[in-house]
Structures are given as C-alpha cells and as structure tokens.
C-alpha cells in the first residue's frame, strides 16, 4: 500500500486527510514487517502509527500498555470509528476479560490493549495459542529499560517475548521520553535489526516557573493566594499519598474545588476522578504521579509540583501531560530550600529517601533466598516466613527473578516461588550502579531548580534532543518570576485549618458494625508522634494534655452530637496503662461510661514487630473478647487506641464487638501512621 492509497483509507476510517511524514515513515516500515522504535512527544499522534496499520492487517494487533486510562480512552474512540477494539485489565471483571479473550480468539477483534502484567496469567497465555496475531506494540517503551524511569519488572517478560517472535512479525515500540542511554538499551533489547525514529521534544506552549520557598506552609499559602489566578483546570502533583489528602482538605477549607487522587483509592473512585478531570469538574486534582499518564485531555492548563520529581525525565513526562492543544500552559515547580540541622535542603530529602528506601538491605534479600531454598513457597508464605514488608518483598522478588535466582512457577491455580539449581550469587553491583544513576538524576533535577538559563532547553538536551536555537518560555528568559510572599491573613487561615483537620480511619467493612473513625493527627507530620514516643517507649509518663484536647476536638468534628453508650479501649501489649488512663480522661470529659471488659484472650506481640498485613492480622486474630456481653448488647461504643497503623487490631475488635451485639463501634485514636512509619 502506498501513501496515497493509505491516506484514502485513513480518511474513510479515521476521518483525517493525511499523515505527518514521520507517521507515514513509521507505518510504511511496519507494513514491511520491520521493527521500529518511535520517540515522539506527547500529542504527536503516536497511536495512529499502530492503530492505522492494525486496521489493515489480517489478524490481531496486541498493544502492551501500562496505562489503564489510556486503554479506556483509546478503545472508546476506536470503537466510535467502527474499529473492533477492546482491552484486558484489572479494572474489568474476570468475566469481561474472559469474554474479551474469547473475542480475540474468534478473530472478532482487530486491536487488543493489555497490561504487561497479564503475561503472568495462564488463561491469557493459553489463549494466545489460538490467536491469529499480526503485530505487537509496546507503548511507553522506556519502561522496558532499567535505565528508564518507571521501569516495570513485568515488561522484562515482554522483552523476552519480543525476542522469541518470528522475524516477520512487525513490532512497534513507542515512548515520549527516552534519553540516549534508554534509547540504546531499548534498541538492544528489541532486536538488532530495529529502526529508530526520533522527533522533536520541545513544548513551546509551556511557561515554566520554579518557586523557591522556605517552608512547607509557604507552598500551601502561595497556592491559596494564586491557584484561582491561573487560567483553566489542572493537576497538582504532591510527592506522597498523604499530601494529596492534606492539600485537598486545605482547598476544601478555602472553598476551592479540588479532589484527591492516588493509587490507594479503589478502582471505581479513581475512574470517577479521571472522568471528573476530563469534564473540568474541579479547579485541580491533587494527585501523586499515578494520575495523568495516558489521559487524553488536550486542555490541562496547568501542572504544579509541590515536590521535585526524581529526575528531569520524570518531570518532562509529568508536565508533558498538559497543554496538548498547543495553547499557553502554566508549569510550576515548588522547591523548599530551607536547611535542616545537618545542612540538607528539606525538599531534597523526599526523593533521596525514595532512592535510599528503594532497595531493601542485603540480609533481607538473603532472608527471602533462604526461605525459598527450603521449600516451594507462595507469596503469602514468603511474607510469613520472612516477616518483611509487602512492598519490600515485591522489590526483592522482582530482583531475584531478574537475576535468575528464583522463578515464579505456576501449578494449576497457585503460584510458587522456586530457587533455581544453577542460581548465580546475588549481584549487588547492579543495585549500586542503579543507585548511582538515580543519585545523578536527582542532582540533575536540582540543577533544573537552580538553573539560570532556558529551562525547556535544559529538559530537551537532557532527553537527548539537540536544540538548534534558543527557546524562550520560562522565568529565566522572558517571564517574570513567581515569588513566595505570604500574607498574614492567609497565614492565619492556615493555622485555623491545622487545628480543625483530622485524618479519617477507613475501617468500614461488610459484616461489621464498625464505622469509619478519626485520628487527632498524622504520626509523621506533626510533633504528636514525638510526644507519643516519649510516653510509650521512653518512660515519659502520661500522654500530655494537648493530645487529649486535640483528640476530643477530633471526636466532636467526626461524631458531633451522636449519642454513645460506652467507651472501651484497646488492651495494652507493652505500654502499660497509658491508653487506659487516656480513655478514662476522655470518659470523664464526654460523660460516657467506660468499660474495662475488653480484654485479650492470650499474649500478642506488639503489632509493630510485624512488617506485613498478613502477619499483623494473624497476630490479633481471635485474640480479643468482651467479658460481660450483656453490657455491650445493642450499645453504641467508642473504641479508643493510641496509634492506628494497619488497622488490623481495630478491625478485629470491631468484628468481635459486632458479634457480641454492639450496634455501632466508632474508632477514635490519637494518631494515624502514614505507610507504616513506626
């Protein structure tokens, strides 16, 4: 098919008149059954480069994509154009996914989007035996390189797959962000016979700003004073999940319409937020970087980072989601340069801690290796055998599989991890190299923050795009700098907010009369953690009175005038009568009678000993009882504890009290941890 013929079909199917030259070049190579790496900026029209040939091939085109939102959007618009397309991912029910697989086998589908993790699914693997395949596409191909940001272990399998494919199968890998190093790595992995097409990365409709601040509060204050002055709707990226919540409550307090988004929300809620973003439902969505990749919204007018990303590549990728329509777009990055006692800048710490915490210590690796050497183990069994955090086990497993030390083997419906006979020694050199690389990238991000010259030029050059002329679209070239200059009234509002904001405890579950509870504070983001630690572990005496006041405030905010019949408290494991005394004080103030009948049926370990949810649950399961059930039957109960971590204890007691006849169990704690930080 020549270009002229192709463009006639293009008009018929997609309604476009013609291809860009680079698009046609790509498509032409795919028609010749070649392998192509296409590096083009967001908004270029990379999708058409595989969607068009897919409609012309006889069989099925499979697109491996890590982005669920992108799958959804693209499938919707393909179907609108009368092209038979579907996706398989964790958002759909098993039945829906199975139906899609059947359609693919029957040859009903032309285009199938699928998450790379699906390669671990036996139903999928079995089904691929019967599909008539025409082309394979790897979207966001930088994720197959360990040198790329967002490297995904599941993509390693896609690389292996590509190497096994017949030589006459066209393969397209696409990305918007690849440095030279990543490009070479991807080329090497896909084929020694690959053509790379690289486009311009410059986004000249962006206006780039960096705002230097001296405290966290200054960020909140600047946003309070300026967010509504920025045109349109956009995204505010915070570095952590807990900050999405805090920022969003702050805007609630200011009556600026926002919502939060992070990977901790359930799929349904996430989908709602994504749809709301598309419909400009809020001024801003406050999110971790989980949002936005693959969302096809042309008019995201601003992107604001309250924390620096891990590297200029991450930054380019994340801001790249804005302004796809080519209209002026505001891009802001905050940096808190105040220094701690050790002389380290505050905003350097978070990304640095991600690098430091990215890899568990060697002896944790050895714990997993030794456990798996002893016997075949499933995922949960590894957790139980090693007492490591789930997130750490995930990293360790991926590394050990990558290095060929263990394998994940499927037996019927269960997955087992097995040590390998000829397993090599754990190679820690690879970890150190990667750490070195990440530290360098972080340094480059700081370079961007402190830059005196064109910011866009810096980003493009960092990504391996050679820029011919000077680009002027930032606060170092042609725009006035944004300055942090807090007004006293905003400062006061912030302190009002601080005193009325309390984290929620989401513990409601079916079959239990427990309701979502409230904590007086976050453990890590205030002086409360330190006060608790002093009392609990350093013989600092009773919990101080300011904790009582704050906790009572939280109680009133959450439960208002709701009537309660009884206060109970979680019996201690090791901190003596601290919680009991605290509960008694609350009982006196609220004039709700206290009961001492909630007791343990055996000895439990302190929950903090256990590093993952399974072990925490096991530790407390069946360990509580209420001594005089008559006292509790039909009663509304306040349940008091000091620290809320995984929530296993509170939930377990909630279940037990429900079974004893309690009509409502309302948790009230002093502090809630963020991601297990005790």
């Amino acid at each position: 098919m020549n270009r002229q013929q192709a463009e006639i079909k293009l008009k018929q199917i997609f309604g476009f008149d013609r291809f860009y030259d680079e698009q046609w070049e790509t498509i032409d190579l795919l028609f010749q059954a070649k392998r192509v790496l296409l590096i083009e900026k967001t908004g270029f029209g990379k999708s058409l480069c595989f969607q068009f040939p897919a409609t012309q091939f006889e069989g099925l085109t499979i697109i491996f994509s890590p982005l669920i939102a992108l799958m959804r959007d693209q499938v919707k618009s393909l179907v609108k154009n009368g092209i038979s397309a579907k996706f398989i991912n964790s958002e759909q029910t098993q039945e829906e996914n199975s139906q899609t697989i059947q359609d693919a086998i029957k040859g009903i589908l032309k285009i199938l989007y699928i998450a790379p993790e699906r390669q671990e699914n036996q139903e999928w693997i079995q089904a691929t035996r019967q599909m008539n395949l025409s082309m394979i596409v790897i979207d966001e191909a930088h994720t197959i390189s360990v040198w790329g940001h967002d490297f995904r272990p599941a993509f390693r399998r896609i690389v292996n797959l590509i190497q096994l494919l017949p030589k006459n199968m066209p393969v397209l890998a696409t990305t918007a962000t690849a440095t030279k190093r990543v490009q070479i790595d991807v080329e090497k992995q896909i084929s020694n016979d690959i053509t790379t097409l690289r486009g311009r990365l410059i986004r000249d409709n962006f206006n780039l700003f960096v705002i230097n601040v001296k405290s966290e509060d200054e960020k909140l204050i600047w946003l309070a004073e300026n967010l509504n002055k920025i045109e349109g709707t956009g995204i505010i990226y915070t570095g952590t999940r807990v900050n999405t919540e805090i920022y969003s409550r702050w805007f609630d307090f200011l009556k600026i319409s926002t919502t939060e988004y992070n990977a901790g929300l359930d799929g349904e809620t996430r989908k709602d937020v994504e749809n709301g973003l598309m419909a400009n439902k809020w001024k801003a969505v406050i999110s971790t970087n989980a949002l936005g990749m693959g969302i096809d919204k042309p008019d995201i007018r601003f992107i604001i980072h309250t924390q620096i990303p891990a590297s200029p590549i991450h930054y380019y990728q994340e801001i790249g989601r804005a302004g796809r329509d080519g209209k002026p777009t505001t891009i802001v990055l905050f940096y808190n340069s105040s220094k701690d006692d050790k002389g380290i800048e505050e905003d350097y710490k978070l990304p640095k801690s991600f690098i430091d915490g990215g890899r568990p210590s060697l002896n944790k690796y050895n714990r997993v290796i030794n456990a798996v050497k002893g016997e075949q183990l499933g995922g949960r069994q590894i957790m139980k055998a090693t007492n490591l955090k789930q997130t750490q086990i995930k990293v360790i497993k991926a590394d050990l599989i990558e290095q060929g030390i263990i394998k994940e083997v499927i037996y019927g419906r269960s997955k087992k991890y097995e040590y390998q006979f000829d397993a090599p020694e754990l190679n820690t050199k690879a970890f150190e190299e990667l750490r070195e690389l990440k530290l360098n990238e972080l340094e480059s991000m700081l370079e961007y923050v402190n830059l005196n010259s064109s910011r866009m030029q810096f980003l493009c050059e960092y990504l391996g795009d050679e820029i011919p002329e000077q680009i002027e679209n930032c606060d170092n070239t042609n725009h006035q700098k944004f300055i942090s200059n807090p007004q006293p009234e905003t400062v006061n509002m912030l302190s009002d907010f601080r005193e009325t904001y309390f984290p929620e405890l989401r513990v409601e579950s079916r079959g239990s009369n427990i309701v979502n509870g409230i904590a007086a504070s976050y453990y890590g983001v205030s002086n409360i953690g330190a006060a608790l630690r002093r009392s609990k572990y350093q013989n600092g005496g009773e919990f101080p009175d300011f904790l009582l006041k704050l906790t009572l405030k939280a109680f009133r905010k959450q439960y208002g005038q709701e009537p309660f019949d009884l206060i109970v408290y979680v019996p201690p494991t090791e901190s003596g009568d601290l919680v009991k005394n605290f509960a008694e004080k609350i009982s006196r103030v609220l004039r709700i009678p206290i009961s001492h009948n909630l007791i343990k049926t055996g000895t439990t370990q302190p929950q903090k000993v256990f590093k993952n949810g399974y072990l925490k649950r096991d530790n407390v399961s069946g360990m509580f009882k209420f001594d005089s059930p008559n006292d509790i039957n039909g009663k509304a109960v306040v349940l008091i504890d000091d620290i809320f971590d995984s929530g296993s204890t509170i939930k377990e007691i909630g279940k037990m009290l429900t079974n004893s006849g309690a009509s409502k169990i309302a948790p009230l704690v002093i502090t809630r941890t963020v991601g297990g930080d005790i």
């Binding site: 390669q119 693997i125 079995q126 691929t128 035996r129 019967q130 599909m131 008539n132 395949l133 394979i136 399998r157 292996n160 797959l161 190497q163 096994l164 494919l165 017949p166 030589k167 006459n168 199968m169 050497k373 016997e375 075949q376 394998k407 994940e408 083997v409 499927i410 037996y411 019927g412 097995e418 040590y419 390998q420 006979f421 000829d422």
Partner: protein, 378 residues
C-alpha cells in the same frame, strides 16, 4: 539461541511428519550452516528442491509458520518458569540420547528442569514391571546402590514398581537421577513439589519430550519407553513379563545390538526373564553381577527352567499344541475358573498362538497349524 526456540517448537510439534524427516531437515541445515529460522522463511520452492518436501509437507510448514507467534508466547512462559528447552543441536542436549536413537528416533526437542549436566554422566536404566515382586525390587535397590556409588546416573520412567524403586534408591544412596516423564513437563505438579530439594541441589533432572501441557496417557507412556532406553548407557532388567512395555523395549534394544543385563530369575518365578536371556540378554545375579556360564548352569539345575506345570497359562498353551479349540472348550477341558474373555485376550497376546477365524473364534498353536496346513495341502 533463544530466538530460535519458537521455531523449534513449531518443528518438533508439527503433526503428521515423522521424526526421521524432521531430523533430516535439521541435519541438512547443520551441514549448510543455515539456521532453523532461515528454513522457515525459505520460499516453498527451496523447501521442495533442497529439502525434498512434498506438496503436503509444504502445506504443513505453511500452517506451522502461522503458529510461530503463538509458540513465542508459550516459550516465553516456559522459560520464565524455569524450564529449559533444548533443541537437538544444543550443546546441552543429551549426547547419549542422540547416539542411541539416531536420526530416526531421537526427539528434535526435549524439555527439562533441573541440572542438565546430569545428561552428560554415565547412565543406567533399571526397568521392569509396575507390579514387580520383592525379589525384583531388592535387585533394583542393589543395582541402584552400586550405580550411585560409581557416580553414575539412574534413568527412571517414574512408573510404579521398579521405576519408582530405582529413583527412590538412587536418592537414598545420594546418587543422581533423570526422571523421564510420560506427560508434558508443565503438568508434573506433585513431582516438582516432592523432588524440589533434589532438583535445586542438582541431583534430579526432569525430562519430557512431549507438548508441555500434555497430560498422562497410555500412548505417551509407551512413547516414553524408548527415551528411557535411549538415555541409558547400560540397561538392567529387574523383571519382565512376555508382553508390555518392558518386554518390547528390551527386545527392541537387543535387536539394535544394545547390551542389556537381565536378572536371572530364581526357582518358580513367573516372568519372562529367562526368555530375554535366551534372546541374547546378559544374565546377572541379584546384585547385578554378570553370571558366568558355570554359575548359570548351577542355577538352571536347581531350578526347573520350564514354567511350573501347574501354571494355567502353560497348561493352555500345551493344550493348544494338541489341537484347535475355542475358549469355552479350553476352559471345559482344563476345568479353569477363567472367563472365556480372559482366555481369549490372553491367547491373542501370545506370539506362538494364532487365531482361526470363525464364530466363535478358535485358537491354535503355531506348531499345530503348520502341521494342519501340511495336511491341507496334501
């Protein structure tokens, strides 16, 4: 090498093409310094002219090409789970299997899990009935002990009886073992669990020649037997009846000139070990030591080498030497408690007995029929 694997599966699992033909293609490619990838992407004319494929075979390969990408998914999954896929051209492929089975029978592809280097060691197969008696199992244990002490590898078919004993004994004496599966490699769940330690320590290799997802069947079990013989440098027979897998395997081996050791049976054992010795197998004693002619004579004197005269099977055969009978007639004459069906099926399996068509079927001994034919033509 990996990039060829999808192509190897497509060739190895190509239906309706004999192993010999597949191996001839491989040999030809090897000689011409071409790869299997080159082969699949040749024009049909090249297949026809250079590789002597006929029209039907060309169609087979054209279908196989369409499946290459499907095989790619399967290979990726197998490798990810730690299985090895070894084409016959791989340096890891068992050299002795190649040598013993030759291009006519050597499988173009084998699947393994565990220590592949075991395939390069001196190897011994101990074979025998699934329902072997204690004498045979003791013999198996004795031989496995010696074999393991000599750092040789036991090849086991993982069937009940002698096979299982050979494997268990090898592991008991800290030896090494190859398990040859009568099924696809990814269906051996319980075995991989049971022998996990031995596999990761490098003392067991699991091997299969079948489609990875294939489940056990009689057909696969039969097809596996020659692989056991092929993987072994020496073969010991603990116990064989005069039919079934062990018997046909040994007879086949003897015909190919393999050295096969058979346990000399003791007094009144009901098996066909002596028949194998008569066919050329080497008699050994209960610990696997070769018996001299003298020793054999002594044993034969102590033992009534003829089968026990009370033996029903023997009586039936003797009866048929005297005439042509129906099953019913045999039962009546010999006052047996067998069913007619049992008699018929027993007789149908005996080489020396032929059936005489008619309703009901009649049976005759070869000696007798030759005589009767003579009379027919007189």
């Amino acid at each position: 090498m990996n990039e060829e694997l999808s192509y190897w599966l497509a060739l190895a699992h190509l239906p309706k093409l004999r192993t010999k033909k597949k191996n001839e293609i491989i040999v030809r490619l090897f000689e011409e310094k071409k790869t299997i990838i080159d082969f699949f992407h040749f024009e049909p004319k090249q297949w026809k002219d250079n590789y002597q494929l006929n029209e039907n075979e060309i169609l087979l390969f054209q279908d196989a090409i369409k499946e290459l990408s499907n095989y790619a998914f399967m290979v990726e999954d197998l490798l990810e789970q730690g299985y090895s896929i070894l084409p016959i051209t791989s340096p890891d492929y068992s050299p002795i299997l190649k040598k013993n089975l030759g291009r006519t029978y050597a499988p173009p592809l084998i699947y393994t899990k565990g220590n592949k280097a075991i395939m390069k060691e001196k190897s011994v197969a101990i074979v025998g009935s699934r329902k072997a008696d204690k004498v045979s199992l003791d013999f198996t244990d004795n031989v496995a002990k010696t074999v393991s002490k000599d750092y040789k590898v036991i090849v086991s078919g993982f069937a009940k009886g002698v096979d299982k004993q050979a494997l268990d004994s090898a592991l008991k004496y800290k030896g090494q073992s190859i398990i040859v599966l009568p099924q696809g490699i990814s269906t051996f769940n319980s075995g991989f669990k049971k022998y996990y330690k031995q596999i990761i320590e490098g003392n067991v290799l699991v091997l299969s020649i079948f489609f990875p997802k294939a489940t056990w069947s009689v057909g696969l079990a039969m097809a596996r037997n020659p692989i056991i013989y092929g993987l072994a440098a020496e073969i010991y027979v603990a116990e064989s009846s005069n039919k079934g897998g062990t018997w046909s395997g040994v007879v086949d081996g003897l015909r190919k000139g393999r050295k096969i050791f058979v346990r000399k049976p003791v007094f009144n054992e009901k098996n066909a070990n002596n028949q194998l010795i008569q066919k050329g197998a080497i008699p050994v004693d209960s610990s696997g030591e070769i018996l001299s002619n003298e020793q054999q004579t002594i044993i034969n004197q102590n033992v009534v080498s003829e089968p026990d005269s009370n033996d029903v099977e023997h009586k039936i055969i003797e009866l048929l030497k005297k005439g042509v009978f129906t099953s019913k007639k045999i039962i009546d004459t010999l006052k047996l408690d067998w069913s007619t069906r049992k008699v018929s099926s027993f007789l149908k399996e005996q080489d020396e007995i032929i059936t005489v068509k008619g309703n009901p079927l009649k049976f005759a001994h070869k000696e007798k029929t030759i005589q009767s034919q003579k009379t027919l033509f007189d």
